[in-house]
């Protein structure tokens, strides 16, 4: 007798060992196409180290491959049909060829998701050891970091990598640690405290530079404890973004195009609105000026006559409100379906768009994301409209300011909500402006419609959230809004939701 497989849990454990040791990449994605599990060999295909794969969607991880594999994934999920031995070709900076299968996976008699297996046709001989697997020469930058003072001792080129000027870097600043991509923080900490005794780390993670750009870094580091008990981390960082650059660039271009068409749709709405609202607005102004003249003219006009003029003005004001109300209904009615979205991606795309066409070297747009507040239930396009609007407003408000900094952050706002904020370093809002902020047609811009924030307000309200503005204690204004957390927040934390 060989092994007894009668014990289910043994068989399950053995199977999972087989899966993780297999030379073939294996993964499972749920019905929403979020990766639920993957083995080590799947990493090159997934487009990211395994710890970044789980909880993200197949499309997010491999936008370049998506056009090829989307029909097969949909076929598995929509029709329950499998596709075997399909050649997937990545024809970017690095050319790869894989042979993949996509098959429906049932659980308790119901479709649970899609299984993916993938083999690298380049052969097992040159097994990749990184994200893209190609052997390239990338310069390693050395650093040493005093743990207590958190000060990189020879940081110039590290700062370059982070997009920070030497002069702006404070010695006791947490800039370096803060720059670690929030989602990657837990993995780094786990790696540092894995207790394998060697005090060494080798990990791929992302850094967020001052201008919001995200770079993939291969980092090797070691803890040294000095005689005084002082801890120093010394190590090297290696910029490996180029590996994923083609994917990223394409992804950006796609989303920019999308955004441009969204913006022009907004522009059309605005000009229609301008025309429609102009008529009653003109009439209101005329009636009121006529009424005032009549009041000033002694008893030439009867009280009834003057009253009639102001009544007409009120009717026209109501006509203008109706037009705006209809527009809001239109905004709500337009695609309002919410679904779980990764706020990190939503925010980064919105930032990229808001910066389009703005060539201001002194402008800094920074990002601070809360890793525990990644998944929100939102309409992505609408929330991006709100963000683009707020970021653009922030940039415009700072045009005369010596320091021009926008900080976009996410933070937890209780169990059910996530708060997103856009802070600027502009002159701040005067009290009358702050009062009418979210009303239509209130604007401080010379050629602004003043409709932007009113629409933002409608969109956030339709999401069940709130939007408000408050003074930034460091100078300037902070706009904050809340959006509901998504139930699939748990997916991003590794649970399958079962």
């Amino acid at each position: 007798m060989a092994l007894n497989f009668g014990n289910i849990s043994h068989a399950g454990a053995l199977l999972s060992r087989v899966i993780s040791a297999a030379p073939v990449g294996l993964a499972f994605a749920d019905l929403q196409l979020h990766y639920v599990m993957a083995n080590d060999a799947f990493a090159p295909f997934g487009g990211a180290p395994l710890n970044h794969l789980i909880g993200r969607t197949v499309q997010e991880n491999a936008p370049l491959l998506w056009p090829q594999i989307q029909p097969l994934v949909r076929r598995a999920i929509d029709l329950g049909e499998a596709t075997y031995d399909f050649d997937v070709i990545l024809d970017g900076a690095v050319s790869r060829k894989w042979r993949a299968s996509f098959f429906p996976v049932q659980l308790d008699g119901r479709l649970a998701g899609v299984g993916i297996s993938v083999a690298d046709l380049q052969g097992a001989g040159d097994k990749p050891d990184g994200v893209g697997g190609q052997s390239e020469q990338v310069e390693e930058i050395q650093y040493s970091l005093d743990i207590d003072r958190r000060n990189p001792a020879s940081p110039d080129r590290v700062l370059d990598l982070l997009g920070i000027h030497r002069a702006e870097f404070a010695a006791d600043d947490d800039t370096f640690l803060n720059a670690i991509f929030p989602d990657d923080g837990p993995a780094m900490n786990a790696e540092l405290s894995d207790g394998d005794g060697d005090n060494a780390v080798a990990i791929e993670h992302r850094l967020v530079s001052a201008d919001g750009a995200v770079r993939w870094i291969h980092e090797r580091a070691e803890f040294l404890v000095g005689e005084s008990g002082r801890q120093t981390l010394i190590g090297t960082v290696q910029h490996i973004t180029e590996r994923n650059e083609t994917e990223t660039r394409l992804h950006q271009m796609q989303s920019e195009l999308l955004h441009v068409s969204r913006l022009s749709a907004m522009g059309q709405v605005s000009s229609t609105l301008a025309h429609e609202v102009n008529q009653p607005l003109t009439a209101v102004g005329n009636y009121i000026r006529a009424g005032l003249l009549m009041l000033d003219s002694g008893d030439q006009y009867s009280r009834m006559k003057i009253r009639g003029v102001f009544e007409k003005a009120a009717q026209q004001a109501a006509r203008a409100s109706d037009i705006v109300r209809n527009l809001r209904a239109f905004v709500r009615k337009g695609d309002t379906a919410s679904q779980p979205e990764n706020l990190t991606i939503v925010v980064q795309e919105a930032m990229a768009l808001a910066r389009l066409g703005i060539k201001d070297r002194g402008l800094k747009v920074r990002l601070r994301l809360d890793g525990n507040s990644s998944w929100a239930s939102v309409n992505r396009i609408q929330i991006q409209q709100v963000l683009v609007n707020l970021i653009r407003n922030a940039i415009e408000a700072m045009s005369e300011s010596p320091r021009r900094e926008v900080l976009v952050s996410t933070a937890s706002a209780g169990r059910d909500f996530i708060e997103v904020s856009v802070a600027d370093s502009g002159p701040g809002l005067t009290e009358p402006v702050a009062q009418g902020l979210f009303k239509p047609f209130v604007t401080t811009k010379r050629d602004g419609m003043g409709v932007g924030l009113a629409i933002c307000h409608s969109i956030i309200e339709a999401h069940g959230g709130k939007i408000w503005a408050e003074p930034n204690h460091a100078g300037g204004t902070i706009f904050r809004f809340t959006v509901p957390r998504s139930d699939s927040e748990s997916i991003s934390q590794g649970s399958t939701g079962q």
């Binding site: 008529q279 607005l281 003109t282 005329n286 009636y287 009549m294």
Partner: protein, 128 residues
């Protein structure tokens, strides 16, 4: 001597009514019309002191009214009101003899000032 009056042509009833009221509150006499055709078919088209015309109207734009008057050999000091002006409208308006193009909504006393200037403008002699 015919009484001097200002002609207002606008297809939007509220804008038309309120313009008339504003001008009357300034002590001016007004006759208003809902379309260019209505105006041209009335006797007002040969005795107006000044014209205030909306540009955007369905049958006939403000400029087309002026072009029709030109064809008839008539010319009045005229003010064109428009929601959004563009270079094409401006060019055509100027060659049709418009003396002011005002954008809606009208800022405080711009219209009254323009009308007063128009009323002081010497009207070219009629051809007929």
């Amino acid at each position: 001597m015919p009484a001097e009056f200002i002609v207002v042509v606008d297809d939007d009833a509220a804008v038309r009514d309120s313009l008339g009221m504003l001008l009357e509150a300034h002590g001016l006499r007004v006759r208003d019309f809902g379309s260019g055709v209505e105006f041209l078919e009335s006797d007002a088209h040969c005795t107006a002191a000044c014209l205030v015309l909306d540009y955007h109207m369905p049958e006939m734009t403000g400029i087309e009214i002026l072009e029709e008057l030109q064809r008839l050999g008539l010319s009045y000091p005229s003010i064109l009101i428009t929601g959004l002006s563009d270079p094409m409208i401006t060019r055509r308006a100027l060659s049709a003899g418009v003396m002011a193009i005002l954008e809606k909504p009208l800022p405080d006393d711009v219209l009254i000032d323009a009308v007063r200037i128009a009323l002081n403008t010497v009207r070219p002699p009629l051809l007929s």
